[in-house]
């Protein structure tokens, strides 16, 4: 099974809107939402009657036993993540603790142990032999990269039979969740926005993606908001040898679709038609028939 990943660098360019449309157009039986900090695909990718939830445990975090702590301050001075709050007794800030265990190592009275950390929830939606894997990280948690890997693993573990490719929706930015999403991607579609910010962010996500040996394709969403910037993106793609797959117009009906809980491919609208055209052009690359 090949893997199509949809990313954007900049937030809010329309990754999930495009991913939802592609899932519908391809009728793929495997898809995932790896934007674990702000998952939304489940709001438009619906109609899976079965649901299977599982808690996600991240790295165990430090916990100080107040009965044993002698407030010596060793843990506080050794912690590199500012996660220890001084006092009598000392406490751990769960949102800063990265779970390295150094404080437990140096505590001379054995007051620090590592405790399991319930950092989020993973959900598998199923219908017949199709699967949709998603997850939501608890607020303020770190290690989202690990959860992203889990989401993909869970999708891959339950797919049955021969599926040409999966569709994976990613998160904005270029950091750990994006890196974990890129790992294993055969084709990456970047949904760009025709703005100066969008172009700057596009360049940064392309740089990041290039480290992963994935084929990179680019489409522009809301292209008519700024035609000059759209042309600039096309020229950039040409210069960089990136496959430019096409444009999707700004479309108030896209908002209507989202608010009805359907994808733009489910209703008759200009953005849905354009997304179908982008999909048609990208399909040979996804299935590796030709480029």
């Amino acid at each position: 099974m090949r893997q199509l990943v949809i990313l954007s660098g900049k937030g809010g360019t329309g990754k999930t809107t495009v991913a939802g449309a592609f899932i519908r157009l391809s009728e793929t039986r495997a898809c995932a939402d790896c934007d674990v900090d702000a998952p939304n695909l489940h709001l438009v990718n619906v109609a899976y009657p079965l649901r299977d939830d599982e808690p996600y445990y991240a790295l165990p975090l430090a916990d100080i036993d107040p009965a044993l702590c002698v407030s010596c301050g060793e843990c506080h001075s050794i912690c590199r993540f500012d996660a220890i709050i001084p006092g009598g007794p000392y406490r751990v800030n769960d949102h800063s603790c990265e779970g390295c265990g150094v404080c437990a190592l140096v505590c001379s009275v054995g007051a620090i142990h590592m405790k399991p950390h319930h950092a989020g929830n993973m959900t598998l939606y199923k219908k017949e032999n199709a699967v949709f894997s998603t997850a939501e990280l608890k607020m303020g948690s770190g290690t989202s990269g690990l959860l992203v890997s889990q989401v993909k693993k869970r999708m891959n573990a339950v797919v049955e039979g021969d599926i040409p490719f999966s569709v994976v929706d990613g998160s904005p930015g270029i950091g750990c969740p994006v890196i974990a999403t890129l790992s294993g991607a055969d084709v990456t579609l970047i949904v760009a926005e025709p703005s100066l910010s969008g172009i700057s962010d596009l360049e940064r996500i392309v740089k990041t993606a290039r480290g992963f040996g994935t084929q990179v394709a680019v489409c522009v969403n809301k292209a008519d908001i700024n035609p000059a910037r759209t042309r600039q993106i096309q020229e950039y793609c040409k210069r960089e040898g990136l496959f430019f797959v096409g444009c999707i117009p700004y479309d108030p009906l896209a908002v209507v679709a989202v608010n009805r809980g359907v994808t733009i491919a489910d209703i008759q609208c200009p953005s849905g038609n354009a997304a179908a055209e982008v999909y048609r052009r990208l399909l040979p690359v996804i299935t590796q028939r030709s480029h």
Partner: protein, 287 residues
């Protein structure tokens, strides 16, 4: 608006955090704008500041002396991040997995490990028509910019109003960015996506006990799940900004609307007054 720190966050990306933070900082009498979205920083594209300084940001990275390492693997066993492995008779470090905690050095009985600095990005500071602009840039390929955000927040100084442009999401990067905020402005779009992520980030603020209000951006006629969320959960709506093609064009060309148009300037001045009042009321309520 004296000396308050206001953070702009959204959960969902692309709702207009930078648009609001940049324009509000531009109408404030003395402002510092800090771009904490170090993965995709954009504020400087609007301000086009004359940079006055830059500083590289480093994280510690362990290095092994193969002549001293005897292969005991105590470091491999200790590393919670699986960043160290013993293979083919040598110690291997996976740089991307290392969090730089320093634990491996501490457990090594032979002092075979030491630390070197690894550059993960930089911060830059400058000014733009009276606004101090401070931005952070994570190098592409690096996993986390938390240390860049920490460094950025030390640059705020005192006496000025501080406008913090947060990254999207509700992750560790966001919690770091809002640590010093006196008041938080949630920026949301009128969609179910917007409302769902507004909910997530609102929960985060409740967890940190931060006062907040919402700006609903790109509003269009019809349903607005984000407005419904605010009304149901008692989040004050500070402003509703309609979808506006001209504003969209100015913004896409990274132009600061309040510097281009008197109407927009008045709109943002009014919004700044409202935020200031909310922040003051919240401070009184808290004390």
């Amino acid at each position: 608006m004296k000396g308050k720190t206001i953070a702009f966050l959204s959960g969902k990306g692309g709702t207009g955090k930078t648009f609001l933070a940049v324009n509000l900082a531009s109408v404030a009498p003395s402002a510092v704008y800090i771009d904490c979205d170090v993965e995709e920083p954009n504020g400087h594209l609007f301000f086009r500041p004359a940079w006055q300084y830059s500083r590289t940001i480093h994280v510690p990275l362990p290095q092994v002396d193969p002549a001293v390492c005897n292969g005991c693997r105590k470091c491999v066993d200790f590393c919670a991040f699986s960043a160290l492995a013993w293979a083919n008779g040598q110690l291997i470090l996976f740089e991307a997995l290392c969090h730089g905690c320093g634990g491996c050095m501490m457990v090594c009985p032979n002092q075979a490990l030491c630390e070197a600095d690894r550059e993960i990005g930089e911060i830059k500071g400058g000014t733009s028509a009276g606004v101090r602009v401070i931005s952070g840039f994570l190098k592409p390929g690096e996993a986390t910019g938390v240390s860049i955000v920490k460094s950025l927040l030390t640059q705020a100084g005192s006496g000025c109003s501080v406008f913090i442009d947060c990254p999207p999401g509700s992750s560790c990067m966001v919690s770091e960015s809002i640590r010093d905020a006196d008041y938080c402005v949630l920026v949301a779009e009128p969609t179910r996506f917007g409302a769902h992520n507004l909910n997530m980030v609102h929960e985060l603020l409740r967890l940190y006990n931060k006062p907040c209000g919402a700006v609903l951006n790109k509003c269009q006629p019809g349903e607005d799940p984000s407005r419904d969320y605010c009304l149901h959960h008692g989040v004050p709506i500070l402003a509703r900004i309609p979808f506006d093609e001209r504003l969209g064009l100015l913004n896409s060309n990274a132009q600061i609307a309040v510097r281009e148009d008197k109407g927009y300037r008045e709109m943002f001045q009014a919004l700044l007054l409202r935020i200031d009042k909310e922040a003051c009321d919240a401070a009184v309520g808290h004390s």
